[in-house]
Symmetry: none
Subunit: 365 residues, 2 copies
């Protein structure tokens, strides 16, 4: 496996440079610049992850390979053991909030991805009209046609005590009634301290009302380029430095009270306002719709696993950062495996069919 992911820790909210995507081919000059920046950072704050990075940046490939393997190991550490002692539900009961008149595929993709990553049960909360269609995609999903009802918040609240994580946004759309109900659902989710991954038009809602997630340490936002810009404009008055992606994701996280942000792109950048993890596991150039749902569903499960495992299993790093990095890596590997088989005709269904193989390859020891 190539070395495609590095981690950088910023100190005291300072601006940092981007990671070095492919260590093995990194030109020495660039590495020297990053080393200088890191040395300054280390003066303020040391962490095991930073030490890993520092060693990786020495450009001794053998060392770099070993050190980067540690990031994979952190993900492996949060994956719950499969034991015969467990009962149904213990490895994850995940809720997906989305699905409306137009969009039915997205919540299915998110829900089935969560199951294939290893959740035991997935509940989808969608608009009435969307429910029979989402159900018809798979008998594995439990689908509640409640999201456009007048008592949507109460209907979802009934289930919240049984859910380990919520994924809000896949196929949500921008209907005011639905968005208003989702606002109430988010408030209830926070009140119960349940981790929540927000994507797609869930992020449209957050751009209207950033206070909904500001400072909520169990929130993860997964914006693409456009969604990231919209969030930036909503919470920061200064223009974005488009030449410094890492710095931007760090800054947006800080502006939102250090919640975890996953900026999806050519490389995925993940930050909690203190660290930036870079993921550029090889995927493919295929950009069909639905890949973000694979990510958000996977991340729903892995966020639960990581928070349950706690920082002692992630070597002191933020569990949600590790979960997000794991889900990004998995999604890109699914994309890669499917693209090898189907090339330009690859769709998200093909990628989801690779979840088992990809997970096993990446995270099963």
């Amino acid at each position: 496996m190539g070395i495609r992911c590095v981690a950088i820790r910023a100190c005291g909210g300072g601006k940092i440079d981007t990671g070095v995507p492919r260590m093995a081919v990194c030109p020495y000059g660039a590495a020297a610049v990053v080393m200088a920046l890191l040395s300054a950072a280390i003066a303020f704050h040391c962490s095991p992850l930073l030490a890993v990075l520092q060693r990786a940046l020495s450009l001794h490939t053998a060392h770099a390979t070993k050190d980067m393997d540690n990031l994979f190991q952190l993900v492996r550490n949060i994956v719950p053991a499969l034991t015969s002692k467990k009962h149904k539900g213990q490895d994850g009961r995940i809720g997906i909030v989305g699905g409306c008149q137009e969009y039915t595929g997205a919540p299915y993709f998110a829900g089935i991805s969560a199951l294939k990553v290893g959740a035991d049960l997935t509940h989808v909360f969608c608009a009435r009209e969307a429910a029979p269609v989402i159900k018809s995609y798979s008998p594995e999903l439990i689908v509640h046609p409640v999201l456009d009802s007048s008592d949507a918040v109460e209907e979802v609240e009934k289930w919240l005590p049984r859910l380990h994580a919520l994924v809000v946004g896949p196929g949500l759309g921008r209907d005011d009634l639905l968005l208003n109900n989702v606002r109430g659902i988010l408030e209830s989710t926070k009140a119960r301290d349940i981790p929540v991954v927000i994507d797609a038009d869930g992020l449209w809602l957050i751009a209207q009302r950033p206070a909904l997630v500001h400072g909520y340490q169990k929130a993860v936002l997964t914006p693409n380029h456009v969604e990231f810009s919209r969030l930036w404009d909503a919470v920061l008055s200064s223009p974005m430095d488009t030449s410094n992606h890492s710095g931007s994701v760090l800054k947006l996280s800080q502006a939102l009270g250090n919640i975890t942000i996953v900026q999806k792109g050519e490389q995925d950048l993940i930050s909690n306002g203190q660290q930036v993890l870079v993921c550029n596991q090889e995927g493919s150039s295929r950009r069909c719709g639905g890949q973000g749902d694979l990510l958000s569903g996977s991340l729903g499960v892995m966020a639960h696993w990581a928070l349950r495992a706690g920082p002692e299993k992630t070597n002191g790093s933020s569990p949600l950062l590790v979960a997000a990095w794991g889900a990004c890596t998995l999604t890109r590997e699914c994309n890669h495996l499917a693209f090898q088989k189907y090339g330009r005709s690859t769709t998200t269904t093909d990628m989801i069919a690779e979840v088992g193989a990809a997970f096993s390859k990446l995270f099963t020891t």
Copy 2:
């Protein structure tokens, strides 16, 4: 195939110890204790199955293997021969009662499992809203959208004379209207002496009204851990002895008038208040939703087969015990085969795809 299942008979309702999951590795001391208990039991009541067990407990592995093979043979004895003389329907017309607003996958899983085990026809009786979705999963099922209608009992009664067994509960939910209709359907089923397997929220109903099945010798309940506790609390005033699972399932069966109970868990315990069969055929640690539906659907068919075959084919043992042991063994083997292919990403759909191979491996001579 390893030796994974033992049988113990209790006498006069006495409390007994649990079975010995893997005879081949059973320590001599434990075996001696069980032998002592059995010797006492034999003084009251002897049966061919007990004799089998007694020989198995001699710890001569070759003998044990041979004796345990007899339990597989009892299941093989109840499986109807496939002959060219048969007509459609003779090997099983099974009804599934369940399917509501939220749950549509469960009755599909139960129904398709019944067909794949070998039933000829499956009828699903569900709420109107659930019907088109359940139909959409498979053209193999006959689906009746009647369960929430005011004449639901009469609508199902029309079909009862043609059904060999009923599976009540998969995807039933807890809506009062549906539960009340199911109450009437159960009364009619009993009046016609049709075997009935009750699972999921069907067991919720039984916990409210144990009299619905009390003493009905053709009823089989298939509770998981939570459902078992709920039933216990409903019919027994004493606290459950959590260190004695076998004794508990025996006692619950007795308290319900010796109906057959299948307590699903790390190992499945099956009792009619006189015997306890233990099944720990190797499955996997995957605990995704839907596996219970595979079991209940399979058991619906096998209960019919076993009762038709009668005790002369089960060597004097209760046909329903043998059917339940067979269905548990089959379900676990399906889980095992699917998990070998798909690992953590295994879902119930993958397991059901293994029914043919598992059945052939286990029960086809």
